[in-house]
């Protein structure tokens, strides 16, 4: 093969051109692109480091991965390492890395339940959209800002108000005291402030857990058939606060009764307990207490009212009620109240002790008949017992109280379907879907309606 050879002058020329092209090219490349790119990256990274030399692991992860790492950290801190956590089917992120050695199970979009082995449920991205039997719900929520005005005991007879009405007071009464609480929270403001020419009480509280949180003032009024307790509330979120009143019975037994929660956001809204006498009497009869003397001993608000659905708190983790230890079944509450009995009833429900569950749901219902979830849970128990008529009644009551919760229509539809009332079932499912189009289970139920697959 002939060897490739250049003349000396051509060779020299080529060498010089090559040297210039290569060296100049490389210098350009290195200076203009690589070094600038890498330099920018290194300098910006070092700048951040120098600005935040002692940032914690959480802060660094937040800077890199965004806010969801807060939730991951929160869940890690608030769940045991043995937890089995159900997480949303569409959740992104590296949950297993942050939550290991906790076991993770993927939730379903189509099936409104969590696996039986799950102990916890992650609440995120509007999931789960179905209720859960909850022991405790820890969440990362924005603060609740609540204005309270005109808290008073009055009469249903027109023109008669109690001497304790704030409007009639020359000197405003003392601030409400935190009386009884089953919550974890930080109170950032509690003071009287002037709003729209009204001197009102302002409570700003951030909950990580709220079963109930009673802010009350001591009063002493006889409870009569005409007694009305009322207040005006303005809150930054609906379904977050309700009016409460404590009744003292003959033998110093105490019970707290509650109204329905606020429905409006950032709007003054009147809350009242108009049939307190009847409620208190019925409750005493149910408990076997004498009803001769009933006095109102405290009035106030419950700022820790749970939201309609857990996902409304946006981010959190639910410890499921599985009948596990931690609830003293034999203890009597110092002061009877609906959330306490509701929790106890959920515990018995998980243990499948149906009679006890019904008993405590019914007590809770008598203390706060305006809480839709008490009725809904009672309905579930009745369905389990095959008492469909009572179940329908309970679900209808729940719907009456909270007509915007699609789940109630779905459960009602299921009972209708079991009873063979296909048209009613269809209507209920359709309504459930209309309210919550993401509740795919209602769509499935509609498709399978009448096919015996429900």
């Amino acid at each position: 093969m002939k060897r490739f050879r250049l003349s000396n002058s051509s060779r020299r020329f080529l060498m010089n051109i090559r040297f210039l092209a290569v060296v100049a090219g490389i210098a350009l490349l290195v200076a203009s692109h690589q070094l600038v790119d890498i330099g920018k990256y290194a300098v910006s990274s070092l700048h951040f480091i120098l600005k935040n030399p002692s940032a914690s692991y959480d802060q660094k992860m937040r800077a890199r991965r965004g806010g969801w790492t807060n939730l991951a950290e929160f869940v890690r801190k608030n769940t045991p390492s043995t937890a089995v956590i159900t997480y949303p089917p569409f959740a992104k992120g590296n949950w297993e890395y942050f939550l290991y050695p906790r076991k993770l199970l993927s939730g379903s979009r189509r099936w409104p339940a969590v696996p039986k082995s799950a102990t916890h449920v992650l609440v995120i991205h509007g999931w789960p959209r179905f209720p859960l039997n909850t022991r405790i719900f820890l969440h990362l929520s924005p603060p609740r800002k609540i204005l309270v005005d005109g808290l008073s005991v009055g009469s249903s007879l027109l023109g008669i108000d109690s001497r304790f009405s704030q409007k009639n007071m020359k000197r405003p009464p003392q601030l409400l005291e935190n009386y009884l609480s089953d919550s974890e929270r930080t109170v950032t403001h509690h003071q009287r402030i002037k709003v729209e020419d009204r001197l009102v009480e302002f409570i700003q509280v951030t909950y990580t857990f709220n079963n109930y949180d009673y802010w009350m003032r001591a009063v002493d009024f006889p409870l009569t058939e005409r007694t009305v307790i009322k207040t005006e509330i303005k809150a930054n979120m609906n379904h977050s606060v309700n009016l409460v009143a404590e009744i003292r019975y003959d033998d110093d037994k105490l019970a707290i009764f509650g109204s329905s929660p606020n429905k409006e956001v950032e709007t003054w809204e009147a809350l009242s307990l108009t049939d307190l006498y009847q409620m208190a009497k019925e409750y005493a009869l149910a408990r076997g207490w004498p009803v001769k003397k009933m006095r109102i001993s405290r009035i106030g608000v419950n700022t820790g009212f749970p939201r309609e659905m857990p996902y409304l708190e946006k981010y959190g983790v639910i410890e499921l009620e599985r009948g596990q230890p931690g609830i003293n079944e034999n203890a009597e509450p110092k002061i009877d109240n609906a959330p306490y009995f509701f929790k106890l009833a959920n515990h018995y429900r998980a243990k499948e002790q149906v009679k006890k569950a019904i008993k405590y749901y019914q007590l809770a219902e008598k203390l706060n008949p305006a809480d839709a979830w008490i009725h809904s849970n009672l309905g579930d128990i009745y369905v389990k017992m095959g008492e469909y008529t009572r179940a329908i009644e309970a679900y209808k009551k729940a719907i009456q109280l909270e007509p915007d919760i699609g789940w109630f229509y779905y459960t009602l539809g299921r009972v209708y379907e079991k009873e063979g009332k296909i048209n009613l079932a269809r209507k209920s499912y359709e309504k459930a879907l209309e309210i919550d189009p993401s509740g795919i289970w209602a769509d499935d139920a509609l498709k399978n309606l009448g096919q015996g697959k429900g």
Partner: protein, 462 residues
């Protein structure tokens, strides 16, 4: 303890490097020792675990110490190390001499190199593991290995990720992280930036053999500051360790071809094996390199060389697959989907089938477009420079013919592999970022090749 976590594997690698190769500069040896030591340490951890011994600091230290003692005894008996040879090193004096002889240009390059390498360490030490894939797999595996002290146990405890995916990648990087966790490191990102320093030093000495100091330094800077290489050295992905082992493997393979220095072929084989221990996709690039080595061996009548090279590679490459097959067959009721679907090469029947498969022009168009979008667009400077320099220095290609073949054949193999993968897995089109990351194994060898083509040898002038 943290420092011991880094020094112990390096010491192990140092002693092993003495067994393999002699008479190389001390800094080069330390650099080799770092990559080699960590790689072999992970193999030792793996074998211990397969033998039923749980991962722990003490178990690993005992095994590695025993290996080191045996190696030292062998070295002493063979007079490969002695006290006078240690004294002859005169490291400090050599550094002083080198510094005083530096030109301004060289000083600037060393200054830039120092700044970028130290920055990389600072960035890695500061940021915890945050990259998605690392959280999903590489570092997650390391954490679970460290907590359960066992690979099989780890696979049993995870829940979201399927065990097959969890264990899909060979374990080098995860076991390195496991080791660092066991040594008390809160996060293990320190491994990669120190490997980047090793790459810089290995590249420098590999270039220095053929070129002047300023040239070697300049191209070392270009290799180290390649954006892909630099960025992934500060992250927790497996791509940079892959790039290191592949680049070191190619450099030592070529150095062996050009100098025939004893030990370099062994080093190349081990580095390729460690590349396979980091990523299963190493095989086409190993085979490509083996073909070139066979051609070289035939031309030089060094027939044993390919055998040694292949032996070293295949002593490690199949280990993980065998282990997975054993694990999944013995511990899971069904044959795992991963193993069942691991072959992505489409079935072909006969020569016509193969022809149809390889010359589907519609598919080639798609693949080339895809490569332009993901590979060329992200490595424009490197690839254009390669073409330009090859054309400009075409008469010097002959001098580095085997390196030319190694570089170009591996690039062709990458293109071919992309063609086949894209044909089998249409979804891979969406995984361009993964391909882009994988491609960072090439810039170091491409720049190394360009450096040699443009180098003025000590006795040469333009």
């Amino acid at each position: 303890m943290l420092i011991v976590g880094l020094l112990f594997p390096t010491l192990f690698g140092f002693i092993i490097s003495l067994l393999i190769v002699s008479n190389i500069p001390i800094f080069e040896r330390i650099s080799i020792a770092y990559g080699l030591g960590f790689g072999l340490l992970t193999l030792a951890m793996f074998f211990l675990n397969v033998a039923g011994v749980k991962f722990s600091l003490i178990n690993t230290v005992i095994l590695i110490s025993a290996l080191m003692i045996l190696s030292l005894i062998y070295l002493l008996l063979r007079h490969r190390i002695s006290c006078p040879s240690l004294r002859e090193l005169n490291v400090l004096q050599k550094i002083k001499q080198t510094i005083s002889s530096l030109s301004i240009f060289e000083g600037i390059i060393i200054g830039l190199l120092t700044f970028f390498l130290l920055s990389n360490i600072a960035i890695s030490l500061y940021w915890p593991v945050w990259e998605s894939d690392a959280l999903y797999m590489f570092d997650f595996r390391a954490r679970v290995f460290a907590e359960t002290n066992s690979i099989s146990e780890a696979a049993r405890t995870i829940t979201i990720i399927s065990p097959s995916y969890f264990l899909a990648y060979p374990p080098l990087t995860s076991l390195v992280n496991t080791w660092l966790y066991l040594c008390g490191w809160a996060h293990p990102k320190i491994f990669c930036p120190l490997l980047l320093i090793s790459l810089a030093i290995v590249s420098y000495y590999s270039l220095r053999e053929y070129s002047r100091r300023y040239h070697a330094l300049l191209f070392t800077l270009i290799i180290v500051t390649n954006p892909g290489v630099y960025f992934y050295a500060a992250s927790s992905y497996i791509n940079f360790p892959c790039a290191f082992y592949f680049a070191a493997g190619i450099m030592y393979l070529y150095r062996w071809m050009s100098t025939q220095k004893r030990g370099f072929l062994g080093l190349a084989g081990i580095f390729f094996a460690l590349f396979a221990w980091t990523r299963q996709e190493s095989i086409p690039f190993f085979l490509g390199s083996l073909v070139i080595l066979i051609i070289f061996a035939i031309s030089q009548r060094r027939f044993f060389a390919p055998v040694l090279f292949a032996l070293l590679y295949f002593s490690v490459q199949p280990l993980w697959r065998i282990y997975l097959a054993y694990l999944f067959h013995s511990q899971y009721t069904a044959i795992d989907t991963f193993l069942a679907s691991s072959s992505f090469i489409p079935e072909v029947s006969g020569a016509s089938g193969l022809f149809k498969l390889l010359f589907d022009f519609v598919q080639w168009r798609k693949v080339l477009l895809w490569m332009r979008l993901w590979i060329v667009a992200n490595h424009r400077e490197t690839l254009y420079s390669l073409v330009l320099v090859t054309l400009l220095c075409i008469d010097r290609v002959r001098k580095h013919l085997f390196l030319f073949l190694l570089v170009y054949l591996n690039l062709i193999l990458f293109t071919l592999a992309s063609y086949i993968v894209l044909m089998a897995w249409d979804w891979w089109k969406g995984a361009g970022a993964s391909a882009k990351r994988f491609f960072i194994i090439f810039p170091p060898i491409i720049w190394y090749f360009m450096a040699l083509l443009t180098a003025k040898a000590k006795d040469e002038s333009y």
